[in-house]
């Protein structure tokens, strides 16, 4: 709908997608030491999904898979410490010396956050699929390549 009415919106959303995705991924990794984190990253990526949907571009359509994956990761990270006798949700911190990146310090919290991202995106996709008017759904699969 919008696609036919406004090619500008359509093209700019397409162009903005990778940028916004990078911003989301940046927030995800920055969260450890600076503002950001899984929830924020999920919201940014979720906003990308909504914008793409409004512009009539292809979006992930199976919220169930996203939510289930996210919950599986979170529960696994939460319960894993129990296996080796630590407390529920106990964190493991790992320091690594990587080429190019230098010293990296991170922990199982990062995985936990990844689960949060998946659940947040899943929620947004489910809201979108559940509530958005039918005309927002992409006209045909493989839309993106035809433009």
């Amino acid at each position: 709908m919008i696609r036919s009415q406004s090619p500008i919106v359509h093209i700019s959303v397409r162009a903005a997608t990778p940028l916004a995705a990078v911003a989301g991924i940046y927030l995800f990794f920055a969260g450890h030491n600076q503002p950001g984190g899984g929830f924020a990253a999920g919201l940014v990526l979720g906003a990308v999904v909504i914008l793409r949907s409004v512009a009539g571009l292809r979006t992930p359509d199976d919220a169930t898979v996203l939510v289930a994956t996210g919950m599986a990761i979170i529960v696994a990270v939460a319960a894993a410490p129990l296996v080796w006798g630590d407390l529920l949700l106990d964190q493991k911190v790992v320091s690594l010396e990587l080429p190019l990146f230098g010293k990296i310090k991170s922990g199982s919290a990062l995985l936990f956050d990844a689960g949060v991202v998946a659940v947040v995106i899943g929620l947004i996709v489910s809201l979108l699929n559940g509530l958005a008017p039918a005309e927002f759904s992409p006209e045909s699969p493989g839309d993106e390549t035809s433009t």
Binding site: P35, G37, A40, A109, I124, N129, A132, P133
Partner: protein, 756 residues
């Protein structure tokens, strides 16, 4: 060892689920392994006379909540019955179900789940362990009774069973709370030895026992539960479900030895149930219902004996538990076989069964004779013990117990006689019953349990070796008693002889007058009352729900806001005006004004899109305030959420009209008033809380801890993912639940046949 028993059952559950993909028969055979192994363990432990093994597992350390199990003689005796009959029932069920039966995973897994719940109940040594497994048996039996999903009467019976036993579970919970409070311990051994129980605890526990063991007036679920597949009836109503109440009464009985309430309530209810059950059983034509009401009668007998609580009575009760488990399971199994092979359970249509199904008939006679308490079967020895226990009493107690037990026995003999006579009478018009082919998987289990009634009488020493220690566990005085093969010409024997004589006369009289149908089908009054009360509760809840969940969003919002106002009112006196400042920087003032202006515009604006945008403006200005206060994380999140919400609004608005529906001026002012009050209330509550800071500022500690344990410099995120990760986990679960809810709603509204 006990851990291993449970582990085997868990493996059995998984195995049955896997095997069930191919066929229900395979699943049932796999499921039989765990109870069979448990039976061998219990028998071996009993015969070796080893020290009882125990097991415990901490559940919630802070609440001193532990799962404690102890395999003492009583527990092992019950284990033998629960698992032994369980294993046979699984084998039997593999013959009962047609080869292509559907629901092939559900049935074996639920039945094994029920079996392990019952096992947990009998092995439990702390009251909370008892309670948990008690509830498990309620839930799994609900699933089993309602197994036939397409049968509305089975569904209704399942609900009735769940409602009644569920209510009993609440009563048990309350009773156990009172009891543990009185005694100060959660261990059954301590409670049974305390004798300090209050009448309140006695009443509550007896109500629970009454619901589970189908005592008047809670019995109505049991006959209804006959809608379940026969293997389930055989298992639930011989050795397990209905015995759960008896087990709890037995193990807690020690605490109530001196309680008049316990004795009299139990005695009267038990005696009344015995007589009533026996009387109704006489009037039934459906074999399964005869057995069902017979079970109610026998349970009344057990409750009577346990309420009396003397050492002899406890011993007699346990003897009857064993004998009843054997003969009643045999009878149910045989009735199921008759049902499957002839297609009917109606006594009128089964004349001449002894010709067409001789094996089944012999099993029915063996078990029936044991049920009637006639030698040479185990039922006789057990019945003798009960009569002797009653003769040892004195006063009114003896009279009530005597009427209950002797009257119940007469009726038992009568309905047994009538049933067996009905099966062996020659058909009037010379037609024979056409029975399907003999099924070994069904016949052999029933032969085994019925045969055990005979073998048990012959090898009475072995039975004594099991029952006497078990009774001693409950009442130390029971150690001196044993079951006798032939008591000699005692008063008890005279009483028994009279019982058999009178009972068979009544049974014969009813049998002869059968064609005249003197006694019609009894009115299921209790069932109707309990159904009506269940319906009433449902209707009431529907009405309340309709009133509370009216579906009007503005009214929901109004209710919530008004609640906030009321909650905030309590804080208002604490506000100190001197403490408050207008602003720390002029920018705050500007942002505050912007928020107020946007909010005011939001109230005025007529289009939905405009309202969404003004709300967004409020949020964005708010995140500006967060930045000024040095909370970039909060600001970032706020900004992102606002973005998503506005975009979401815009996508969603496509469904709605452009402008708001018109409202009356009065309603608008109510809404405005509540909104303003709500805003003021929140401001007031925050001002009050900031006026009274308590403790030191936590930031320094958090910063240190964040770097040390979380390995991150962003305190907010370390709090979210590490220090308070449990909260985050909870919040993420909420998000997931919302997502699932939205998906479900969207599917419902889009499914065909429903208006959008």
């Amino acid at each position: 060892m006990i851990e291993l028993v449970f582990a085997i059952h868990v493996v059995g559950l998984v195995g049955a689920a896997i095997a069930g993909r191919r066929s229900i028969q395979g699943a049932l055979r796999v499921a039989a392994i765990a109870p069979a192994a448990t039976t061998i363990w219990a028998a071996e432990s009993l015969l070796s006379g080893r020290e009882p093994v125990s097991a415990s597992m901490t559940w919630v350390e802070q609440l001193d909540l532990e799962l404690i199990f102890l395999a003492d003689s009583f527990a092992l005796m019950m284990t033998l019955l629960v698992s032994g009959i369980g294993a046979l029932v699984f084998v039997y069920a593999s013959g009962y179900f047609a080869v292509d039966a559907r629901g092939s995973i559900r049935f074996p897994v639920t039945l094994l789940g029920f079996s392990v719940s019952m096992l947990g109940l009998v092995l439990a040594e702390s009251v909370w362990t008892v309670f948990i497994f008690w509830e498990f048996t309620s839930i799994t039996s609900f699933l089993l009774v309602g197994h036939k999903l397409s049968d509305p009467s089975a569904q209704q019976a399942a609900w009735r069973a769940l409602m009644i036993t569920g209510a009993g579970g609440l009563s048990l919970l309350a009773g156990l709370l009172v009891l543990t409070d009185d005694v100060g311990s959660v261990l059954l051994a301590d409670i049974a030895g305390s004798q300090t129980a209050s009448p309140l605890a006695a009443v509550l526990v007896l109500i629970a026992v009454g619901t589970k063991s189908a005592q008047l007036p809670f019995h109505s679920w049991l006959p209804g539960a006959m809608a379940a597949p026969t293997p389930v009836s055989a298992y639930l109503h011989s050795a397990t479900m209905v015995k759960a109440g008896v087990v709890v009464m037995a193990v807690l009985g020690g605490a109530f030895v001196d309680s008049q309430t316990w004795q009299w309530l139990g005695l009267i209810v038990g005696a009344a149930t015995t007589l009533w059950g026996g009387f109704v059983a006489l009037r039934q034509r459906d074999l399964k219902l005869i057995l069902a009401y017979g079970t109610i009668s026998q349970l009344g007998l057990l409750v009577t004996l346990l309420a009396v609580g003397t050492s002899k009575a406890v011993f007699a009760a346990l003897s009857i538990v064993v004998a009843h488990a054997l003969f009643k399971s045999a009878l149910f199994l045989v009735v199921g076989e008759i049902d499957i092979r002839t297609g009917t359970r109606n006594l009128d249509e089964l004349a001449g069964l002894h010709r067409s199904m001789p094996v089944a008939f012999v099993v029915a006679v063996l078990a029936g004779v044991s049920m009637a308490g006639i030698p040479p079967l185990l039922g006789f020895a057990a019945k003798e013990a009960a009569v002797e226990a009653v003769l040892k009493l004195s006063g009114i107690e003896q009279v009530v117990a005597f009427i209950g037990i002797v009257g119940g026995s007469v009726l038992t003999v009568a309905y047994t006689f009538r049933m067996l006579a009905g099966l062996s009478r020659s058909p009037e018009d010379g037609r024979t019953i056409t029975a399907l082919a003999f099924r070994p998987a069904m016949a052999i289990p029933s032969i085994i349990v019925a045969g055990l009634g005979l073998v048990g009488f012959v090898l009475l020493g072995t039975i004594n070796g099991i029952v006497t220690p078990a009774a001693t566990e409950l009442n130390a005085g029971s150690a001196v008693y044993e079951l006798l093969r032939w008591p000699g010409a005692t008063t008890a024997l005279m009483v028994s002889a009279a019982v058999v004589l009178v009972g068979s006369t009544i049974g014969a009289a009813i049998h002869r007058s059968e064609t005249a149908t003197v006694l019609g089908e009894p009115e299921p009054v209790a069932a109707r009352v309990s159904d009506a009360s269940i319906d009433g509760v449902l209707r009431l809840s529907r009405r309340v729900t309709a009133r509370v969940q009216h579906g009007s969003l503005p009214v929901y919002l109004l209710t919530m806001s008004a609640t906030v106002v009321i909650a905030a009112a309590a804080f208002l006196p604490a506000v100190s005006v001197t403490h408050l400042e207008w602003a720390e920087t002029p920018v705050q003032l500007v942002l505050g004004l912007a928020i107020a202006a946007a909010a005011a515009a939001g109230v005025q604006v007529r289009t939905r899109l405009g309202a969404a945008l003004t709300l967004g403006a409020v949020g964005v200005a708010m995140s500006g305030l967060f930045i000024l206060q040095g909370a970039p994380d909060l600001a970032l999140t706020q900004l992102l959420v606002e973005t998503i919400v506005v975009v979401g609004f815009v996508t969603g608005l496509g469904h709605l009209a452009r402008t708001f529906p018109p409202v009356t001026q009065g309603w608008l002012s109510v809404r405005l008033g509540v909104a303003v009050m709500c805003g003021l209330g929140v401001v007031g509550a925050l001002a009050a809380s900031s006026a009274q800071p308590s403790g030191s500022f936590p930031a320094a500690d958090l910063l240190r801890e964040s770097v040390e344990t979380g390995g991150g410099n962003n305190i907010v995120n370390v709090i979210l993912t590490d220090m308070r990760a449990l909260d985050t986990l909870g919040e993420v679960v909420v998000l997931a639940v919302v997502a699932v809810g939205v998906i479900a709603l969207a599917r419902t509204s889009r499914s065909p046949g429903r208006a959008q």
